[in-house]
Amino acid sequence: MIESILRLSIERRGIMLLLILFISGLGLWSYQQLPIDAVPDITNVQVQINTQAQGYSPLETEQRITFVVETSLAGLPSLSYTRSLSRYGLSQVTAVFDEGTDLYFARNLINTRLGAIKSQLPQGLEPEMGPIATGLGEIYMYSLSATDDARQSNGQAYNAMALREIHDWVVKPQLALVKGVTEVNAIGGYTKQYHVNPDPQKMLNFNLSMQDLLTALARNNANQGAGFVERNGQQILIRSQAQLKTIEDIGKVVVKRIDSVPVTVNDIGKVAIGKELRTGAATREGIETVLGTAMMLVGENSRAVSLAVAQKVTDIQTSLPDGVLIQSVYDRTTLVDKAINTVQKNLLEGAFLVIVILFLLLGNVRAALITAAVIPLAMLATITGMVQTGVSANLMSLGALDFGLIVDGAVIIVENCIRRLSEQQKRTGVILALKERLELVFEATNEVIRPSLFGVLIITVVYIPLFSLSGVEGKMFHPMAATVIIALIAAMVFSITLVPAAVAIFLGGKISEKESPIILGAKFVYRPVLLAALKLRWFVVVAAAILVIICIWLATRLGSEFIPQLNEGDIALHAMRIPGTGIDQAIAMQKLLESKIMEYQQVQTVFAKTGTAEVATDAMPPNVTDTFVMLKPRELWPDPSLSKEDFVAMLEKDLSILPGNNYEFTQPIQMRFNELISGVRADLGIKLFGDDLDALVNSASEILAVLQTIDGVADARIEQVDDVPIFTINPKPVMLARYGLDVTDLQTWLHAAIGGNEAGLIFEGDRRFALVVRFAEDIRGDLDALGDIPIMTDSGEYVPLGEVAELKFSSVPNQISRENGKRRVVVTANVRERDLGSFVQQAKLKISQQVDLPVGYWLDYGGTFEQLESASKRLSIVVPATLFIILALLVIAFGSIKDALIIFTGVPLALTGGIFALWLRDMPLSISAGVGFIALSGIAVLNGLVMLSFIRQRLLETGELVNAIVDGALTRLRPVLMTALVASLGFVPMALNVGTGAEVQRPLATVVIGGIISSTILTLLILPVLYRLAYSKKVNE
């Protein structure tokens, strides 16, 4: 088959070359469709269901909302699990679906279920699904600020509330229209409200209850249409206007009539613009501000969307009042551009190096260009393939591409063609006729096509184990493996079609093949060394074996790291205060923190979100602040050589002197992923399910005690169940009855007085604001005096609150977590210096013996040990299977197990160099390095294959072993050196790269470069020696 393809390609060479246009066109079109982002998306398929419930404590939220929502989700198809948290005022249920479930399908299912439970939820509460976005969704953040001299129309300076109003009614509606934006989420300032603050004493004075006030406001704030009449042929609409518009209007509402004298709102209290009871706030550089986040629809191109948002933000600026500024504080474009630049730079420099090497070693510009042309074509074909398979372009997926490696097949073919053509020309002394030339090209190609195809095939096969990774690791590395495989296959296809066709067309005329001085020199050195090695063969083999052993030992001394951290260039830090910290206190602490951070010259700006935003995409309590530290470009740092890690360490140390803050350093995207993926990330997570929170915590403590007695345990702890203080007002029913009240009377009064009751809306044009009745801050804020506040009774008398209710401080859990419809507490532990499996076994046994769980409580063992176990199980099958496939391919190629095994020895030898290079550069073993080793084994096999197939051929021709070996080895010196040089030099830019994304590429490139050096030297020496040893007997016979 291969032969017929080759023949076809050479005969129909013109058509083949036209294919280039087609491939290029397809590639360019695909490039427009290719989703580009900085990092791979590791979010699972999940839907968040948020229900805002003003005034509900965690327990009520759980009981009335979370339970209902969660139960309704049970039994959905493809539902993997649900988890939930119930906080003050917020219920968040997260439904996680199986991988591959269509997100819109899942959301549809949930929507149906949510519709069905509306009647079971307390009145007025609406569960809402979170935005259709993933962890990569927060692509653009901006802040609103005002210059010091800017004034509102009423002459006052812009405060956070005024800015929030501008955001909600001017900025947000415009941004929400940008294509690809699914949500604009605001945090900060206060939503403007109109507040009526009744004075309890004055209410008493006029014998007014809260209900009277609420009713009066509700009944005197409406417009009503009344149809139309026709008058003299004209239609005239009838309308009654009584909507309240201004603070004065509200103040004039009549609440009661005493002896025909109207009592107005002004008589019993004050009307003012008031603040909502907010759950979140935003700060920037130590000043309260309003932050907006544009969230990208899942599957969009983040670069394109954030560019569009940025453009829109510029447009919006013109529609803002003078002195109000909208400023971009986080723009994903920056990171994506940096990432793309890194990849581009690596690829371009790599390609350039490859071309130079080819030219130097082949001594033929045309041949070098033909080979190099494979690079852009393979790239375009890869992009097409990525679009078709739904792989996005990012640092991980493009990070492992090395075009040196990819053109290996083409290099071998072109090299052989040139050699054969020039040999033939030298022999005949004339320029070849077309037919002759075509035949020769076919022969030359056919001669090396099998080893090169097998070689590339083997490199492809070794990437397969990466597909067995699952979960987050899988999501990070599948795209990488997929991209490399696509690129390799594309290059492979090109090398049997386009390359021979191009050679046939362009290498006509006189072939100038100069043995370049480099090759001549190499041969000059190589021959005596090879001969010496053949002589000292046992010594060489033993030395190589020792080298392998040393490197295996060295490998165990290297550290290891599972997933590399992509450097996003910015810092995100959680600033955490103790649970129960109020939002204003937290902001005061945050302002101090930010002004401290701004003292660093490296910092461009700092902004932060405290608590939960309008749309609770990240449900944080007010004691936690997500702080974003945007860094200046490194050139502007006082010391540009300072690494980011060192800077973070410095920051952490300096910030630790600020009282009351605890920090956790991470990066913006990474933080978002953490928030979304959640779940247990310790080695072992024991989930305890049950009803009663106290009983759960008690049993969890017992389990913790047992865990701590087991060898190898580390960082064992119970998931935090923090208590927050609560002020309870427990009605005394008998006392209430004595005054003619009941529990509802009291609670309604309480809700209105302290929390505030909405009594309607105030419209200002398109804008609408809530009209809220609530006691003034100084009254509702003084808990000590709360008991003295009089409540109206039906009879027009009054009674102090303290008389009919018991007031006291107590505590409630800060948050109630549930999973799969049941309350749960998690005990987590990591395992150190011990086999994980046996640890888990022992833990299970000990816990079942020593912990007596209450009836109706059960345990579930989970944690990463499960994933690790299944991953190692899978890898323990997949890795040997892969090795077997490689071996099988080699056996098929040579029809000889012995030869296959000889080639296989190249693998450990190649690995030695990789390990050594890692050790030299002080890098840990990581998956990235692992991918490097994978590529390396492929290259080693490829080299061995090329070398061995020639030696074998010579041996068959001449029958003389040593001569065949030396001859074959010398002939193949050039292609071996070439493939090695292009593959390793192609990686040099990556190995030295310090830009964005370097973390992933550096170990990979380091391993490949180190490995290729060792593998080339060893292929050139050990392989002939082994061949000699393996075949000496046979030939002697």
């Binding site: 790291e561 951290q565 955490m576 991470t666 959640s678 998931e719 935090q720 073993l925």
Partner: protein, 306 residues
Amino acid sequence: MNFFNQNRQYSTNKMALFPVIMLLLIPFMSLASEDKHKGEMVTMSDNMAMVSGISTVAVSAGQLNILATLFGDVTTDPASLSHIRARFDGVISDVTVNLGDKVKRGDPLATVESNESLKRYKVTSPFTGTIIARHANAGELSNGQILFSIASYDDVWAQLKIFPKQRAAIKSGQKVWLSNTDFTQESSISHIVPSSEGKPYTLAFVKLSNTDGNWPVGALLKARVSTETINTPLLIPKIAIQKYEGRTVVFVKKDNEYHPRTINFGRSDDINIEVLAGLEAAEIIVSQNSYLIKADLEKSGAGHVH
């Protein structure tokens, strides 16, 4: 600890992990070594304390003024309201005052011609006050009717409701600050009487001077009754008190160190609280923003679980 967990360890190669674990732990170890809370104290420079809004106060002797809050309304003094009739019925021949007129004691109000003696006599004002009602016009017969009502609002009474929980603390003679929404006046409880009609509260009466007319009868008023004044040797502001690990503490400042100190406290008023044990006079404690010290002590436990 997401940051840590993200760098997930490859558990299959335990020995090789060790250096990496150590590397990863460095930031955390540095935190641990700087953990100032082991000895249950916070170290903070005065400058940082100032920037953070922390202020201190010395423990000293002082007076607690314990107040109770009552509500009630303004009523007239029964002695200052008079309904005036004619002594001998007859024809009213002349009326000399009108509604709202201020009259002095003995001022003539009207002249009545007695039916029996046919003599004219003057009806006079019994005290200084204001005419608040007039039912007499010249030519009418008095016939035992009320001719005028005269009231004096120079002195009014506040009638305060004492609900059962407050009953024990309120005694006559206690000082009271009475306020309606605009004015405050100091007075004292003159007497306490059970309310009529079987209401659940008792009534305290307080005399109010109303020469300026600030206390209209029927207006609702709020009363702060000083139920007790206590001189105590150790007094601290209430805002200094925090709950820390289940104990009630204040933070004592020594040089740059702030130590939590468990205290027993006694009674309190609106602002201050009496310390029974745990502090000595002249010790410096944190008053404003004491929460920050508590937050710093407990911060190692502050986390964010997603």
